[in-house]
């Protein structure tokens, strides 16, 4: 310390931290920092552009599925045709006869069409299942029987695609499902103002179907909902209880260490393995029904259990130990300490982890294929044991179908699934903000 007291030399030597070499070092550091920032920005831009590409493709493909072309026809509801026994009871109606009513109405609209092939082509304008829609209308309003009514009925998939531009009408006749004659009839319908594009309510009110114009997501959505309920009911209590025990009560020894390692490994097990487990245990051993939301929920519950345990343990660990000491020092038992103080403080973190886990489960397909949730189910499940599908599996099924109509339905279903996920993540953020306490 004595050197400081000595007088400074008059000619200061260049310090290590000024001068040319130092400036160069400084420049190099700035350049490195700029470079690193650039990498970061590039990474984010890349991720964002991928997201934009994904969403724009889906929107381009999918939005048209929310609209459906409908044709107006004057249908005469002949009581003798649909109700040959004359019971007047809608349950006794001949369901197949409604399609006949629709085709009769078509023939009337184009009276100069006579030949057999021509008539068949004419029938190709409307959906082969338009009669089902007509039947549903009459179910709601049986008083219409015997009258002639103007109804909007779904056009066939080919017409639908021509209107939406999914199929180019300028293609050679041989390459499109709609021939020139059909196009001409359709154009004359359009001139009469008997064609419109309506919101596709069927998409949200119907379940799977072999006809894209009749297929909807309701069954899969209800199936997803039921499955998620089971998943939540299984994984949340078990996960939180396991996390609380491991974090707050379990002695730290070799045995608990092994359990911990196993839980972490379980989180990384491929999901299809859980499907095989579900198949072997729930279906084969316990004899539960195939394709049921109960089994799907159990399998997905096991799948997200490790995620919930890990997230809950992290949340419990983040509670300051001073809170535990305070409670223990007041004479609370360890259980009371956990229940009164630690768990409520960890709750936002636990809920976030749970919802993230559930969001993971919502999009899971592979394990559900193993337990038969890819069954063709045309009605929404009414119980946990009924056959059902779920959103991602429905997407998987539709993606496999060749009809152009199902291509757009697939994209639309993905959009609905994404909306589901955004909703769940939003809920996670909202819950965390709401229950977060500051200290």
């Amino acid at each position: 310390m004595t050197e400081i007291a000595e007088p400074m030399p008059t000619a200061m030597p260049v310090s290590l931290h000024t001068g040319d070499a130092a400036t160069k070092r400084l420049k190099a550091r700035y350049a490195a920092e700029r470079r690193f920032r650039l990498y970061g920005i590039l990474a984010i831009l890349f991720a964002c552009s991928m997201l934009v590409i994904l969403l724009s493709t889906l929107l381009k493909e999918g939005t048209s599925a929310f609209f459906q072309t409908e044709v107006k026809l004057a249908v005469t509801i002949d009581a003798g045709t649909i109700d040959p026994q004359g019971t007047g009871n809608p349950a006794e109606w001949d369901r197949g006869a409604f399609q006949t009513l629709v085709t009769d109405a078509l023939y009337k609209a184009f009276p100069d069409v006579t030949g057999r092939t021509e008539k068949r082509d004419l029938r190709g304008l409307v959906s082969p299942v338009a009669g089902v829609r007509l039947g549903q209308m009459l179910d709601k309003n049986p008083a219409l029987v015997g009258q002639t009514i103007e109804v909007w009925l779904p056009a066939s998939d080919g017409i639908n695609q021509i209107v939406k531009g999914g199929i180019d009408r300028d293609l050679p006749e041989i390459e499109r499902p709609i021939n020139d004659k059909q196009l001409a009839w359709f154009d004359s319908l359009q001139q009469r103002g008997d064609v419109k594009s309506a919101f596709n309510t069927t998409f949200f009110t119907a379940s799977d179907s072999n006809y894209p114009e009749l297929a909807g997501l309701l069954g899969a959505a209800v199936g997803t909902l039921l499955t998620m309920l089971v998943t939540l009911a299984i994984s949340l209590p078990i996960g939180v209880a396991a996390a609380v025990y491991l974090e707050e009560f379990a002695p730290k020894n070799r045995f608990t260490e092994i359990i911990e390692v196993n839980i972490n490994n379980l989180a990384a097990v491929p999901s299809i393995v859980f499907g095989l487990l579900g198949l072997a245990v729930f279906l084969n051993f316990f004899g539960m029904p195939r394709s049921a939301p109960l089994v799907g929920g159990l399998v997905l519950g096991l799948l997200v259990l490790p995620t919930i345990i890990i997230a809950s343990r992290a949340a419990l660990k983040a509670v300051p130990p001073s809170i535990r000491e305070a409670a223990l020092g007041m004479g609370a038992s360890r259980l009371q300490t956990v229940m009164h103080h630690v768990l409520p403080l960890a709750m936002p973190g636990i809920m976030t982890g749970t919802i993230i886990g559930m969001a993971h489960a919502v999009g899971e397909t592979a394990p559900l294929l193993m337990i038969g949730m890819n069954a063709f189910v045309t009605s929404a499940p009414d119980s946990l044991l009924a056959s059902s599908s779920v959103l991602p599996v429905q997407i998987f099924i539709w993606a496999d179908k060749p009809e152009r109509g199902f291509v757009e339905l697939t994209s639309a279903a993905i959009l609905v699934l994404l909306a589901f996920l955004i909703l769940m993540n939003g809920a996670a953020i909202w819950l965390r903000k709401k229950f977060e306490r500051r200290w």
Binding site: P320, S322, I323, E325, A326, A327, G329, M330, L345, R438
Partner: protein, 267 residues
């Protein structure tokens, strides 16, 4: 080393009955021994200060008095600690009841992240000391008054206790501890996180609380020990080196280690 002879409790200046008495208390953390046989008596309505350099075992000893060390898996206690002549390490003894009789105030103010009111009634609620709203109200008022906090917070009892200043939080913790009417209050460096004014406030409070409670306080601050305590115990490397009247310890220590510490030769 003949610290055993020095360890004998000094009784001359005190006329109160013994409240807590430690006999040959040894504490182990795993294989390591942190306390090597401590013998000390704490008399009713006195303030016993425990001083010593960091890591000397004074906090460890304090925590054996209400069995807070139980929460550490590898910690093991040998010897006897008697509260009113009853061994608190008796397996039949209920720890919850013990901690109701021996309250604790920690180094860092640690109010629950709840309202001031809920902080104070937590103990009474836990031990079923009150059931009706007016009883709880009365407990809150007397406890906060005893902790010298009532006038500052009476208009915002339902605001979070964590919103108070550091000194107020520590007094809230004291109010929370006295709310269950304990017999002994343990304080583990209660002022180390506080500024001098808040410290002075707490020190005054300790002197008032002595009338109703027996207090054992661990402190790093020797002036504080001198100001608040009647008797002082000096710990060094896991040994209780010397215990006696505070005045005597600070003016005329018998052991040279004590003398070295209080004169600042090490610490």
């Amino acid at each position: 080393m003949d610290s055993m002879t020095l360890n004998k409790p000094v009784q001359a200046a005190v006329t109160q009955p013994v409240k807590v008495s430690a006999r040959d208390v040894k504490v182990y953390y795993g294989a390591k021994r942190a306390l090597h046989g401590v013998n000390v008596d704490i008399y009713q309505n006195e303030v016993l200060a425990m001083i010593g350099p960091s890591g000397c075992g004074k906090s460890t000893f304090l925590r054996t008095l209400n069995r807070m060390n139980d929460t550490i898996d590898i910690c093991r206690v040998e010897g006897k600690i008697l509260l009113d002549g009853e061994d608190i390490y008796d397996p039949k003894l209920d720890v919850v009841q013990l901690r109701a009789r021996v309250g604790m105030v920690f180094q860092k103010p640690n109010p629950f992240p709840k309202s001031i009111y809920e902080n104070v009634i937590y103990g009474p609620k836990l031990h079923g000391l009150a059931t009706r709203k007016d009883e709880f109200d009365a407990i809150v008022e007397t406890s906060l008054k005893r902790a010298g906090l009532w006038n500052e917070v009476k208009d915002r009892l339902h605001e979070p206790g964590t919103g108070l200043s550091g000194g107020q939080q520590q007094r809230l913790c004291i109010a929370r501890a006295v709310a269950v009417s304990p017999e002994v209050i343990l304080m583990d460096e209660p002022c180390s996180a506080l500024d001098p004014i808040a410290t002075a406030h707490i020190e005054e409070l300790i002197d008032e609380l002595r009338e109703s409670f027996t207090i054992a306080i661990v402190t790093h601050n020797m002036q504080q020990a001198a100001r608040v305590s009647q008797r002082t115990a000096f710990f060094h490397l896991g040994d209780l080196v010397e215990v006696g009247d505070t005045e005597e310890i600070f003016t005329n220590p018998r052991d040279e280690r004590t003398q070295g510490y209080i004169t600042g030769r090490y610490g």
